[in-house]
């Protein structure tokens, strides 16, 4: 037992040492952020994954930036305009330097855009943003024209998703210049962004250093360290113990505790992600509804309305989401592009829901299976179970079929669900993206309704949407989108439940304005005044 005693003493010493280490002041001007997911690569053209996009914005800039509400703002381009229906012209910002000191010109932009299709093995290619681009024309070093395949009103948003690489630093023998592996190790990782790359230890941390020659407002922090802490409990524990200064996305179960902690402040922002339920409307026989003699009740608008008003959105947001959700009546929150200020949210009215079911000819209700992913969206499984219990109460006996995300996607895409709960974050910050993917009549060739596995279809809405998608004029386009969304919501083509509210937890004394796209940008983190 002697050995054990000695061991215990050693641990006690270690404990004492580390507790004193914890109270030491944090190194000045160093910001440590606990992020939820580690990027899969630092090559900003490898994978259209949120963590990659987020980290990319530390080291790189795009021509256009999106502000906290996802509106476009000048970045490396000072201004842009549509010269004609198929040509966009960008005036570039002068006197911008890359981290290696070289000048930023239109050459870099063209190199960047032309590299995208050449990146091999990309699991989520950036070509989704270049598909409307036909050719590039360098008018002068600071003027670039992009010719498009057809009218491309959303080109500025595409451009905003493409961080600009340095043509000079990226030179290399491979067809794409520097390879993804080289960029991951920092070789060629030269941008114009607010931070310079220092190192990446996979699984452990990404380190950046302030770019003192930055063209925009300079970041407060000399050093920024991103630590991937994927486990929710871990991330909170790291913040509480002072290991990190702020964390993304604290779990809802811990919010109450964090709110009451005097050492912690919370930052919140309504996000662009809507959680919705799609209802199978492809026709008959219905999917997963065994007791209606082959009739599909979901084809009836009254039934869809009943299912919507049977949901106690407020109760869900209070009890399950702990207040970090906002009841939704649309696919994006106001004031994003195409949304209406006065969009109604379906009120909770189980009595009326029962009556509607009766009118529709289902006085005894029916049975249905609600598909849901487990672990993809905030509290997705719990939400599905709550909805199921609410539907069951109005007589629609609901089974939840929750699966790991890959299985869920597979089932959804092969139309296995009569109803399914899912989420959608319109990265463009305007309704066209959500309506096109979730609600337009599916047409694989045109790329319409690609995620509309409920197969809702409404010609009137399709027409409005298609017109909007080729309308260059912003105000006109947004009005058309608002009309399309109004039609969809009046038809209860799908049931919007809520918008997620993104939360950040910070050490007291720091502020973060929050962003609708749920990104965490160290540039915007500042000490409280």
């Amino acid at each position: 037992m002697v050995g054990f005693g000695r061991k215990a003493a050693a641990f006690a010493a270690a404990l004492a040492f580390s507790t004193t280490a914890l109270v030491l002041p944090v190194a000045a001007q160093e910001l440590k952020i606990g992020i939820k997911t580690e990027p899969s690569a630092l090559d900003p053209q490898f994978h259209t994954l949120n963590p990659n996009i987020q980290v990319g914005a530390y080291f790189f800039d795009a021509l256009i930036a999106q502000d906290a509400e996802l509106k476009t703002q000048p970045a490396l381009a000072l201004s842009w305009k549509a010269v004609d229906d198929t040509t966009w012209e960008f005036k570039l910002r002068p006197n911008v330097k890359f981290h290696d000191g070289s000048d930023f010109t239109a050459e870099d932009v063209v190199f960047t855009y032309e590299r995208i299709p050449k990146v091999p093995n990309s699991p989520g290619p950036y070509t989704i943003y270049t598909r409307s681009m036909k050719s590039f024309e360098i008018v002068d070093p600071l003027t670039l024209r992009i010719h498009t395949n057809g009218p491309a009103p959303l080109l500025p948003l595409d451009v905003a998703a493409l961080p600009i690489l340095s043509k000079k630093a990226m030179a290399g023998p491979a067809p794409e210049g520097k390879t993804t592996a080289e960029l991951n190790s920092g070789n060629g990782l030269v941008g114009t962004g607010p931070f310079k790359f220092v190192e990446w230890q996979r699984g452990s941390k990404i380190v950046g250093e302030r770019n003192d020659a930055y063209w925009g407002p300079k970041p407060y922090w000399k050093t920024v360290i991103l630590r991937p802490l994927s486990n929710n409990t871990t991330r909170v524990a790291a913040l509480l113990s002072g290991d990190v200064d702020m964390i993304e996305d604290p779990p809802t179960t811990d919010l109450a505790k964090l709110k009451n902690d005097p050492k912690i402040t919370l930052a919140k922002a309504i996000s662009n992600r809507v959680i919705y339920i799609a209802l199978d409307q492809h026709g008959e026989p219905p999917i997963g509804i065994p007791d209606t003699n082959g009739k599909n009740p979901l084809m009836d608008k009254r039934v869809r309305e009943a299912l919507s008003i049977a949901i106690d959105r407020k109760g869900i947001d209070d009890k399950i989401m702990e207040g970090i959700a906002v009841p939704a009546g649309d696919l994006l929150p106001y004031p994003m592009g195409g949304t209406r200020k006065d969009t109604p949210v379906d009120p909770y009215d189980p009595a009326k829901a029962k009556k509607l079911l009766e009118e529709a000819g289902y006085p005894k209700g029916f049975s249905i299976t609600l598909g849901a992913p487990n672990g993809r969206y905030i509290n997705d499984l719990k939400l599905a179970q709550a909805v199921a219990s609410m539907w069951t109460r109005i007589g629609v006996k609901t089974d939840v079929d929750a699966n790991a995300p890959p299985v869920f996607f597979k089932n959804r895409d092969s139309f296995k669900y009569g109803a399914y709960l899912a989420g959608w974050g319109a990265s463009t910050g305007e309704l066209g993206n959500a309506l096109k993917s979730l609600a337009a009549t599916p047409d694989r060739v045109k790329g319409m309704g690609t995620t509309n596995s409920g197969r809702h279809s409404n010609k009137e809405m399709d027409a409005k949407l298609e017109e909007a998608l080729v309308t260059i004029d912003d105000a006109k386009r947004e009005a058309l989108l608002a009309d399309a969304s109004k039609i969809l919501m009046a038809e209860h083509g799908l049931i919007a439940i809520h918008f997620e509210v993104s939360v950040w937890a910070l050490r007291k004394g720091l502020t973060y304005p929050g962003r609708a796209d749920q990104s965490t940008f160290a540039v915007d983190v500042k000490p409280a005044k």
């Binding site: 409990t233 779990p251 869900i316 199921a388 219990s389 069951t392 939840v400 929750a402 299985v407």
Partner: protein
């Protein structure tokens, strides 16, 4: 124990001997009581549970995360062990979870025992190449950790009680096969088997009617230990997210669901299912440990 035999000993059947030996160890009896308790709860779950946790229509979100001893919103029910994030009564959930856990454990062990015994006896009786081949397979199965094999299998098969059963049977049969073979090898050289062979009885009859009954005691001991392991393994797999579906929670699934609440103070969601799981497993092991001593032929007096 020789003192007691001074009083004229009543002739004991082997079964009685086992029972009386077993009862001498208080700890083992305690284990048996725990097992009986777990079994009772599992079998009668639908009748003794205050609430049917599968009937989601009866859940009221407002009662979610109620601490132990709270009364439900409509005043009809006391949540003795609290409720989870879905307002499910933990006591009912544990009763039903025990049902799932024990079901999976028993069925998988019985099936693995069946398969293992057949393979082991065939190998022992046939000998030669058949024996070599079968034992090679057994060796390979045994050289990999069960947890890893089951994890890979289940991530491939997907969720579901049937799939968990397949995985558990697959990682367990080899223990029984090896044990059955070695027990049978001992029996094979005994006279009664030779005698039976001389009578030209069909091999299957010799193997199953004569050799099998004599191998059973040692197999039963292994089965008890394996049962405890199977229940723990299923819980672990469910915890890792590849076991039973969330809609039919086993004890492991309940513990896993409560994990996220642990840090925020709602300990009961994870704690009580864990205690229930520990009761079942420890009970089986306490009883099984002693059963091994009792059934061990070396300990015969």
């Amino acid at each position: 124990m020789s003192e007691t035999s001074l009083v004229a000993p009543k002739p004991q059947t082997p079964f009685q001997r086992v029972v009386s030996d077993f009862c001498e160890d208080k700890l083992a009896v305690f284990g048996l009581v725990l097992v009986a308790l777990a079994l009772f709860v599992a079998i009668f779950a639908p009748w003794i549970s205050p609430q049917n946790p599968f009937d989601i229509g009866s859940l009221d979100l407002l009662d979610a995360k109620a601490p132990p001893g709270s009364v439900s919103g409509d005043g009809k029910l006391t949540y003795w062990l609290g409720t989870d994030g879905q307002a499910r009564d933990m006591m009912s959930a544990i009763f039903y979870g025990m049902r799932t856990s024990l079901f999976v454990g028993f069925v998988s062990v019985v099936a693995a025992l069946g398969i293992g015994v057949v393979v082991g006896l065939v190998a022992a009786y046939a000998g030669g190449r058949t024996d070599a081949l079968l034992m090679r397979i057994v060796d390979i199965m045994l050289s990999f950790p069960a947890i890893l094999v089951a994890l890979i299998l289940l991530s491939v098969l997907g969720k579901g009680i049937d799939k968990v059963l397949i995985a558990l049977i697959l990682v367990q049969w080899a223990y029984f096969a090896r044990a059955a073979r070695s027990a049978a090898l001992v029996e094979r050289n005994k006279e009664y088997v030779e005698a039976a062979a001389c009578l030209a009885l069909p091999p299957s009859r010799i193997v199953f009617r004569h050799m099998l009954p004599n191998c059973l005691p040692s197999l039963i001991v292994i089965a008890t230990i394996t049962l405890a392991r199977a229940i723990a393994l299923e819980a672990t797999l469910s915890f890792l997210g590849v076991g039973v579906p969330v809609t039919e929670p086993s004890l492991g699934m309940l513990i896993s669901n409560g994990f996220e609440f642990l840090m925020s103070g709602s300990y009961w969601i994870s704690f009580f299912p864990g205690i229930a799981l520990a009761i079942a497993i420890v009970g089986i092991n306490l009883a099984g440990d002693h059963l091994r001593d009792v059934l061990n032929p070396r300990n015969l007096r």
